[in-house]
Symmetry: C2
Subunit: 386 residues, 2 copies
């Protein structure tokens, strides 16, 4: 016998009263239990209808179709995106509840990164700036090689063959950083010129530079992430381009910048995470800027597996909050940051569930990083299969 | 003895006259030979100075530094980007010449794709549009399943489990396509509403839709490319979601849209190509739209390897034209299309050489696709190591 759900038009409540259905629903942690009946929330009723052949009857006894039921909840933003993210979690045999049921937990340990700081040497170098090319070139080989070998500023000689060829080439982030922190002089441009040219190529240059500067001042080496699909790759403090090959430290982290005032398709964010994943790097997201959006609430409270079974509201604790997004929607950095903040307040990590055009769901887990003395928060984002 | 190069300030010519140097340069296909002397072009002189310890002397006998030499050619756009792309090709032991020396060749065979066309059935379905979610849902399971199984429109049931759950979900491209070509009716939105909502999320929606429609009408199945970092993945004519698993045809091609009026960082274009490469799909680029930029000239004429050696201007034919770009610059679809057009006119394929912030170069080869009756040109882009 399929479950029968009654829909009350005025109160928009979905009620199941049949005792055997009620007991099935309670056992599987659906709905809100009140006396002898269960009140379902919309995604639950849609799910029962979609995959369990439940029947939803209106007050006058008419059977509702899926779209009719959904149309009664058209004031819910992104109802279908939430529904398909909900469905996917349920299809995996896991429990998912409304975010309103979230309490306080302590299940979001922060990843502590070393942060020894960096005293930038006074190199007193002089360079020529090539604005079309977003780089500057240092003629003086002694000082150019020194800053390359000591602190991996620029590229002396040739990439992966620093003895082949001359000159140190500084990228535009390194150029500005060394002007501000190490008395680098440009023979043909001021600090202002550099910022102006860089901004003309990339509206978000300053936000990206601020992140570069932050990691450099914490002691990390920050180089282009071009080969890994991100703004930067980073090396932990102590890395050097001068080590012999058998002591070479590969970069294991990439760093991408999503400014708070930037609008991005979720598919574009996902693309950057995908490249990092394909080259087995840890993807770190920075969300710099001042823009604040208050109180973006994730959509669901997620219970996950545990040894020998699943966690439930009865016997276990929730693991994540879920924010459901669809691949063709635009979000801002500020929006994402606010959702992460809400998860942090509950003491849980955030899962981004991105519903693609075929209603297939990809999950990204967001974990906070603590980088002492840093002015920003950073997040490790990794692709997970729940 | 290092090569000595004389620089003439007025004519901006770089001349080598020493007989042994002349013969070395001629043998390696540097410069323009006139009588007993060789005239070098700027990138060549920079290269000789950078990696071969050549000395450049001004008319008054003063030795120029690298930046001094380069500053004399500051009217050349993106001189350093071109120089490092040039250097990389030379470092590989290959010959590279000015694009002005290109003649006419026939070394750019077009890839012919099948194009049987597609007569869209009249499904007469009705759906509800969910504008926040960029999808529409068909209640009628018979017609919904039929259009899914026959022509892979939408997603019936669950992704990779079409019997699990009900309803066919059409993405926004499928929704619009079926409204225009198969009498799909939306109960709560007009064609105009769909376009308006989709454009509010993505300014380039219509250009992307036009490409979707073009491939669909040629007979291809076009589904989301979300998992592969692109707008779409495509299946060649004849693919079906209903085949048993042992006959399942995997998608081997992904399709990405770079509208002519879109501005994109080259690093962003590269990111999309990278994901496709990491999942071993052929990356197809569409450059739709009306905007035209006249006559964008690639930068260099490239000679490549041949069996047992290298091709040279004396004994072989060039293989490609090269357009040098740097990772932090912005290009438009129209700009790229015009450079491809110029290469096509010479009968060579284009190589995009992207110089990253460490002056390391990544090469992408662009090859034209012929899709009969299509209104656009398409290009296979693949990462190559020359």
């Amino acid at each position: 016998m399929p479950v029968e759900i009654e829909f009350f038009d005025d109160s928009k409540e979905l009620v199941v009263g049949d005792p055997s259905s009620v007991s099935v629903l309670k056992r599987a942690f659906y709905g809100r239990n009140e006396g002898a009946v269960v009140f379902l929330f919309p995604e639950e009723a849609m799910y029962m209808m979609d995959v369990r052949n439940a029947i939803v009857l209106s007050e006058n006894g008419k059977e509702l179709k899926f779209n009719e039921l959904a149309s009664h909840f058209s004031e819910c933003e992104r109802l279908m995106t939430k529904y398909y993210a909900f469905k996917d979690w349920r299809d995996r045999g896991l429990v998912i509840r409304p975010v309103s049921e979230a309490g306080k937990y302590a299940r979001n340990p922060v990843h502590k990164y070393p942060s020894p700081g960096f005293k930038v040497p006074e190199y007193n170098a002089s360079a020529r700036f090539y604005s079309d090319d977003n780089l500057s070139v240092i003629d003086d080989d002694d000082i150019g090689e020194k800053m390359y070998l000591e602190n991996w500023f620029g590229q002396h000689g040739t990439y992966k063959a620093e003895k082949h060829g001359k000159c140190n080439k500084l990228d535009v982030y390194e150029t500005l950083f060394l002007m501000r922190h190490s008395a680098l002089k440009l023979e043909n441009a001021s600090e202002k010129d550099v910022v102006k040219h860089a901004k003309s190529n990339n509206h978000f240059f300053e936000a990206i530079y601020n992140v570069y500067e932050d990691w450099r001042l914490r002691g990390f080496v920050v180089k282009t992430g071009f080969k890994f699909g991100t703004h930067f790759r980073i090396y932990f403090p102590g890395a050097s381009p001068a080590l012999p090959l058998n002591k070479w430290i590969h970069s294991k982290h990439v760093l991408h910048v999503f400014p708070r005032d930037m609008q991005l398709l979720t598919s574009e964010l996902s693309r950057a995470i995908r490249v990092a994943h394909s080259v087995k790097k840890t993807f770190i997201l920075a969300i710099p800027g001042k823009k604040r959006i208050k109180n973006v609430q994730p959509d669901f409270l997620l219970f996950h597996r545990k040894k020998g079974g699943i966690e439930t509201p009865d016997s276990g604790k929730p693991r994540y909050l879920m924010l459901a997004l669809n691949e063709d929607e635009v979000i801002s950095g500020a929006y994402l940051a606010s959702a992460i903040e809400s998860a942090k307040d509950t003491g849980l990590n955030l899962i981004l569930a991105i519903v693609d055009r075929e209603t297939s769901v990809t999950h990204y887990r967001v974990r906070r990083i603590e980088l002492k003395d840093s002015k920003y928060e950073y997040y490790e984002i990794d692709w997970v299969q729940p």
